[in-house]
């Protein structure tokens, strides 16, 4: 027995001796070029492939600079970021979204793009520039932009015209269509539309197109939540909740509240006629749908078609050891040539205006007309995306209450007021 224990210990010790040797290669530590290494962190592996091609072209023009990608997938991205900021181990360039950028801007973590690259700003999508302008300065180079439109199951919709559906008021053309496209009588439920707790694709469209607001004016630095006091926002929310619980043209909130993929899966399974979503789901739908489908403009409301445009930016680390090289890579990422690779892969919609044509071309090559997305991105009457130094905290505070509202457990007006107050209290803490 003792011999056995010794053998086991020797085996474990041998395993320990092997410790410290990994069989994986780290692309970020490859030292092939010898130029100044600029690390670039992002979370999307499809855009990563586009970036690799883009950086290969960059290296040909700038052999003294070597941009290297550091992939930190979405699931882990926001957990790592605070530790890297605290530890001083941020990469030279990294992606951030609007919910997680204000607090770092205020703490001086990012380079001021308005000061460093003032000549490039005109070539970027204006709505994304506005989204990431804080205290009068832009803090990143716009990379991706999400635009919202309506995915249409042509087999279910048939000859019905869904190209300009209007919700609300006496001229409501949307609800009758959604009701006609809903079928709950058979063994398989068919949904007309994907109303649900989806801020970006659903809620902001309804609130914005009813003339409502979510927060105060971003440009003047007012991050206060207003949606509970704004009766137009409350009315829009009531309409969306009614689509689920009264009209039953959409899946139950119990299915969609905590599963962001539920409605998309119902659409790709052929169980949903109209699915309002963004460019971020285009590739998923294209890869999965086994029926005829197309893209139509998003819904229009009493004051028009108002959508949120949500972008992703690449920010520069203010404490980078290679500021000039970092700015050169950022400038490249913000150029038509550098960002063109993103659209050319069809992976995402570039926020660099001149590069957006490549996206259109890619999907046209696939037989899909994505013009409604381009039109949505070009719109100037937009609903501002969530903003503020503690936008993520405010959102989390409102989330649980708003989910109860969608479930029909709290009356809409009461719930929105409660959620608004909770969000405002959270950002003040």
């Amino acid at each position: 027995m003792e011999r056995l224990s010794r053998r086991a210990l020797i085996g474990l010790g041998a395993g320990g001796l092997l410790a410290g040797c990994s069989i994986a290669e780290d692309p970020a530590s490859d030292s092939s070029s010898g130029g100044t290494v600029v690390t670039v962190r992002l979370w999307d592996d499809t855009v990563q492939r586009a970036y690799e091609k883009s950086f290969a072209a960059f290296r040909e023009q700038n052999p003294d600079i070597d941009p290297r990608i550091e992939m930190v997938p979405w699931a882990s991205y926001w957990d790592k970021l605070p530790a890297d900021v605290a530890g001083g181990t941020l990469p030279d360039i990294l992606w951030v979204n609007s919910s997680n950028f204000g607090v770092y801007v205020d703490s001086g973590t990012f380079l001021n793009i308005s000061e460093e690259l003032p000549d490039s700003i005109g070539g970027w999508q204006q709505t994304v520039v506005e989204q990431y302008t804080r205290d009068g300065s832009l803090w990143g180079v716009p990379q991706l932009s999400d635009a919202i439109a309506l995915f249409v199951n042509d087999d279910l919709v048939g000859d019905t015209d869904v190209s300009n559906l209007v919700w609300g008021g006496a001229d409501d053309t949307f609800l009758p269509v959604a009701q006609a496209l809903t079928n709950r009588s058979g063994a398989r439920t068919q949904y007309g539309f994907n109303a649900g707790y989806d801020l970006q694709a659903i809620f902001f469209n309804f609130v914005g197109s009813n003339g409502g607001t979510w927060q105060g004016d971003a440009a003047s630095g007012d991050d206060t939540y207003t949606f509970g006091d704004d009766q137009k926002s409350v009315a829009a929310m009531q309409y969306v909740v009614d689509l689920i619980n009264r009209d039953q043209v959409s899946p139950s909130a119990a299915d969609t509240n905590d599963n962001g993929d539920f409605s998309r899966d119902q659409f790709t399974q052929g169980n949903m006629a109209l699915f309002q979503s963004g460019t971020y789901n285009l590739k998923n739908v294209a890869d999965s749908a086994g029926f005829g489908w197309s893209i139509a403009p998003a819904l229009t409301g009493p004051v028009g078609r108002v959508l949120v445009t949500n972008g992703i930016i690449a920010v520069g680390n203010a404490k980078t050891a290679h500021k000039d090289a970092t700015l050169k890579v950022l400038e490249w990422l913000g150029s038509a040539e550098g960002a063109g690779y993103i659209g050319a892969e069809g992976a995402a919609f570039p926020a660099v205006t001149e590069a957006q044509q490549s996206y259109l071309d890619y999907w046209q090559g696939e037989g899909i007309d994505v013009q409604p997305f381009l039109d949505a991105a070009a719109a100037t009457d937009v609903m501002p995306a969530p903003h503020g130094a503690r936008a993520q905290t405010g959102q989390q505070a409102a989330d649980e209450i708003l989910k109860e509202v969608f479930l029909g457990r709290i009356p809409v007006a009461d719930g929105m007021k409660q959620a608004q107050d909770a969000a405002n209290a959270a950002i003040q803490e």
């Binding site: 395993g15 320990g16 410790a19 990994s22 997938p73 790592k80 399974q269």
Partner: protein
């Protein structure tokens, strides 16, 4: 004669309840296994509870050696678990014996203080720990992953100390009379008598370190040192769950733990009786 059918009915109901419990417990694993054997298109187009059609091993091929290979992460995880198993067992045995049998000033205070660290959530210490390790140049290294937990855990020390205190003092006294020092008593008397509890502790250490996620996630970057849990989480992108790949990865990641449990099943059952640990 009358009680026979009643007893039979009672047993039948008991088995039905147990069967329902077993189904509820096993259903998620079965669902995961079935999903891992589907093509992504089938998962997207059909309801979740359909059988794979066609059955495919492509997800397993992908996570074993394809584009999404998890083999490097598996090797790293095995290395981490082995080193931590040895480190934690050795250090915990030494510390627990000291707290159980040796007398030194401040013993109770030190033990109480050490146990109190169990009450501090990991998220509270993770950023300071990360800063220390980053400044020590251990970010994204093997030793960066293992060092924080290499020298035992409060739970292990507590468990072993309670067990060591139950070892008859007479045995140790007899060993002393035979000329044994503290270390020899520990090695030749106490440890051999503690095999069941050590087996339990080994299983707990292996399972907890195999499933450890937060620290390896924070301290590593890139594929070189990522563990299985981190690599599996990384299979998901923002708008694509990649569920067929993820379920294949989790099924594979679970297999060694199931095998380990089957291997030491009897020892664990014994140790539950011995230690009262549940």
């Amino acid at each position: 004669m009358r009680r026979g059918p009643r007893i039979g009915l009672g047993i039948g109901i008991t088995y039905l309840v147990l069967l329902a419990g077993a189904v509820l417990a096993l259903a998620p694993y079965l669902l995961s296994l079935l999903t891992s054997l589907k093509q992504p298109v089938q998962l997207a187009r059909q309801a979740t509870l359909t059988w794979p059609a066609p059955w495919t091993g492509e997800n397993y091929a992908n996570v074993l050696g394809g584009q999404y290979t998890l083999l490097p992460a598996l090797v790293v995880t095995v290395q981490v678990v082995l080193v931590l198993l040895v480190g934690q067992l050795v250090c915990s045995v030494l510390a627990a014996y000291a707290f159980a049998r040796l007398e030194f000033p401040g013993k109770r205070l030190l033990f109480g203080g050490y146990l109190a660290t169990m009450m501090v959530p990991q998220v509270v210490t993770i950023v300071p720990l990360y800063v220390m390790f980053a400044q020590a140049g251990l970010r994204n290294t093997f030793w960066g992953i293992v060092l924080p937990t290499l020298f035992g855990s409060p739970f292990a020390v507590y468990l072993l100390r309670e067990h060591f205190r139950g070892v008859p003092q007479d045995l140790e006294d007899a060993a002393k009379l035979d000329g044994c020092g503290t270390l020899r008593i520990l090695r030749h008397v106490v440890v051999p008598l503690s095999r069941p509890v050590l087996a339990t502790l080994a299983v707990i250490t292996v399972v907890s370190q195999w499933n450890n996620f937060l620290w390896p996630l924070i301290i590593t970057t890139g594929p070189t040192w990522q563990t299985l849990t981190v690599a599996t989480a990384n299979l998901q992108s923002q708008y694509n769950g990649n569920w067929t790949l993820v379920t294949a990865a989790t099924t594979l990641a679970m297999a060694p733990l199931v095998a380990l449990f089957l291997l030491v099943n009897r020892r664990i059952t014994e140790s539950i009786a011995v230690t009262g640990f549940r």
